[in-house]
């Protein structure tokens, strides 16, 4: 990672130089050449610290539930809390999020309950949360398709005069998909209010960034398509918030899309079905563990004298309590009526599906009698 300025341009504002990788909080593991001002009050920093601890605790809970056979699979966001929470904190209520499957922290920041978030992973029922209530679309397991939806929604919002920005959360691997390119080009051509928030966590399952692209940065994609690209230290919650706020303001102001590349690291395996020790070194993972986003914020709050032992303890206890409550909620999730299988395929009733529903009902009755 080089701290060089990158040249970007955006429609209507011409070519401009953005700072290289934006950092606001000191990195305790290495000397940092240049720190920019952030936009958060001390209280907000403390609040974000508490959310990060709480959401990491939730992620640990989901990991352990999966290992106990209570969840089908889990994609941990461990190590990416600053990128997700810092960016989500910058959003306005009316903004829309189009997440991938790893955006647990963003979903919780949007107010989705743990139970609603985990229905799908627990296999209890069909999808859980209401995408409209939280303006958090279905999490997209196909890669980068949702970047297109985010763009279309932004185009519609722009036409309707809605003051909203649509945010597509994608990863470094997703930038190789044609969908990502098409979405970015569309958004740029139509000056749609979209932020492509790319968490560069260095690994797409087992494929490293170096095998994903020959481009020196992912943010470079933006100026090539005529819009603004920015880079941020994704393990610095204050910097992510600052950059995301700027990106949202730019998009909201009618200046077209922005690509934010947040440089972070996926500490865990891709999912619980993957074993990262087969393809990357322990030393690499250890290096990034030392650059932990929560430790970094803690360090900063400490240096400001804001983090007493009491606050640390109460934060941990609050996170534990929420995790316990979530565990109970999750384990109590119940299945519904199985014949609901045939609902929601189409609007209204369809004779073919009614017939098949009756067949299932008859099967269920026969099994009960056996």
């Amino acid at each position: 990672m080089v701290d060089n300025p990158i040249e970007t341009n955006s429609p209507g504002s011409g070519t401009r130089i953005d700072p290289g990788i934006v950092r606001c909080l000191p990195d305790q593991t290495r000397p940092t050449s240049r720190l920019l001002e952030h936009k958060l009050t001390s209280d907000e920093l403390l609040h974000l610290y508490q959310r990060m601890v709480e959401i990491r605790r939730f992620d640990e809970l989901a990991m352990s539930l999966q290992r106990q056979g209570q969840l089908g699979v889990w994609a941990s966001c461990l190590g990416q809390e600053a990128a997700q929470i810092g960016s989500a904190y910058a959003l306005a209520d009316q903004d829309w999020v189009f997440p991938s499957y790893r955006e647990t922290a963003v979903g919780l920041m949007r107010g989705i309950t743990p139970g609603d978030l985990l229905h799908q992973y627990r296999g209890t029922w069909l999808g859980g949360y209401d995408p409209y209530k939280h303006r958090f679309a279905m999490n997209s397991i196909p890669i980068a398709t949702h970047a297109l939806h985010a763009t279309g929604l932004a185009m519609a919002a722009k036409r309707a005069g809605d003051n909203l920005v649509s945010v597509a959360y994608i990863g470094d691997g997703a930038t190789s998909e044609g969908d990502a390119h098409e979405a970015m080009n569309f958004a740029a051509v139509f000056a749609a209010p979209v932020v492509f928030f790319v968490q560069n966590n260095h690994w797409a399952i087992s494929v490293p960034l170096s095998a994903q692209t020959a481009s020196p940065t992912l943010a470079d994609r933006a100026p090539a398509l005529g819009f603004r690209g920015m880079m941020v230290d994704g393990n610095d919650v204050a910097a992510v918030h600052r950059v995301m706020s700027d990106a949202l303001e730019h998009a909201r102001g009618g200046h077209g899309p922005v690509l934010v590349e947040a440089i972070t690291y996926r500490i865990e395996s891709h999912t619980t079905a993957d074993d990262h020790t087969r393809y990357r070194t322990a030393a690499e993972v250890e290096e990034w563990r030392e650059r932990d986003p929560i430790a970094r914020l803690e360090h900063h709050l400490d240096s400001l004298g804001m983090l007493t032992d009491d606050i640390r303890r109460s934060t941990r206890e609050a996170a534990d309590a929420k995790a316990s409550a979530a565990r109970i909620e999750i384990l109590q999730l119940s299945a519904g009526d199985p014949t609901e299988l045939f609902q929601h395929v189409y609007h209204g009733e369809r004779p073919l599906l009614q017939e098949q529903r009756e067949m299932l009902r008859a099967e269920l009755r026969a099994w009960e009698e056996m």
Binding site: Y132, L153, R159, D179, A183
Partner: protein, 324 residues
């Protein structure tokens, strides 16, 4: 009552709906200034402006993906995919995204998108621009599939597709674009999932779709000359499928022929044969016969193309030799 070409009926039907619903928008390649490469959208940008009739970059995935994102806000969207063969480029959005959104959100999200596309052979466009791919879409739960054969049906089914809350793939047949027909005055709104019996008969039923409908009618006319009374059903929509009309006709005639432009394997006629075997078996006096394009790509040479898709002659000969 006005006579319109099938081509003009497309724009006529879209205009009817765009006047009714100011939220309705359209996305596609060359649909605005050019009026569509098949001239099916002529006049729309002039009347409704470039924000509602929007030319896009050459990005089929983005056309459908953005249409879906826009439709999530509750507005109806028409997306044009220039040739139906190109649905393969963006099938992910169609099959995995649009078709499943309602289901995956437990009914909370609807995707009122109409995907219009030019389908079928007969125009010497070769293997990658001439296919009949309605069966690709028919097999995906969550999609509806419409393929009109007359200008009046284009207008009425277009309105029905646009007003339907589910994603509908609307196949416009390239070889029917120049055909003409009467279109009633005033607002026309048809119903999806309703077949039309275009010719009554007692000896056999011919079920056809789109470009195969006029050929089936011609064949029936020739058969009448031989004393064979064929009933011709225009299916018009594959999903929903009017099984009542098909089964009712077979009950009357005892024989069923399907005329399909798609290649042999897994064509829509196979599904209909299966339905009739299940539910109309005892009404059949002989096997169901499928008349299809062979299981080959569509050739570009005119002589060869004419030999592949079912011709009036082939329909006539097949029925004549297999009926008794």
């Amino acid at each position: 009552m006005a006579e319109l070409t099938y081509r003009n009926a497309v724009a006529y039907g879209i205009a009817q709906e765009m006047r009714r619903d100011p939220m309705l928008v359209m996305l596609g390649e060359d649909i605005a200034g050019a009026g569509g490469v098949f001239k099916t959208t002529v006049g729309l940008v002039e009347e409704f402006g470039p924000l509602r009739v929007r030319d896009t970059p050459i990005s089929e995935q983005a056309i459908l993906g953005a249409a879906m994102g826009a439709a999530m806000t509750g507005i109806p969207v028409i997306a044009e995919i220039m040739f139906s063969d190109f649905l393969a480029v963006c099938f992910d959005i169609l099959a995995n995204e649009m078709a499943k959104s309602r289901y995956m959100t437990g009914g909370q999200m609807t995707v009122p998108v109409v995907v219009r596309t030019a389908n079928g052979a007969g125009s010497r466009f070769g293997a990658q621009h001439s296919q009949s791919v309605e069966n690709w879409c028919m097999m995906i739960p969550g999609l509806k599939v419409v393929a009109p054969s007359t200008p009046a049906d284009v207008v009425g089914l277009m309105a029905a597709a646009i007003r339907d809350p589910d994603p509908v793939v609307f196949f416009e047949h390239k070889s029917l674009l120049a055909s003409k027909g009467e279109v009633p005055d005033g607002e026309i709104i048809d119903e999806l999932g309703t077949a039309k019996i275009l010719r009554e008969g007692t000896d056999c039923t011919i079920a056809a779709l789109a470009y195969m409908v006029p050929r089936a009618l011609e064949a029936a006319e020739h058969l009448a000359g031989d004393g064979i009374s064929a009933e011709v059903i225009d299916l018009r929509s594959l999903v929903p499928l009017d099984t009542k009309a098909i089964l009712g006709s077979v009950e009357k005639t005892g024989r069923l022929y399907t005329v399909e432009e798609n290649p042999r394997l897994c064509g829509w006629g196979a599904e209909i044969a299966s339905i009739v075997a299940d539910e109309g078996f005892w009404n059949l006096d002989g096997p169901v016969v499928r008349i299809t394009t062979p299981h080959i790509p569509i050739p570009s040479a005119d002589v060869l193309e004419d030999l592949t898709i079912p011709s009036t002659q082939r329909i006539y000969d097949t029925i004549k030799t297999t009926l008794n």
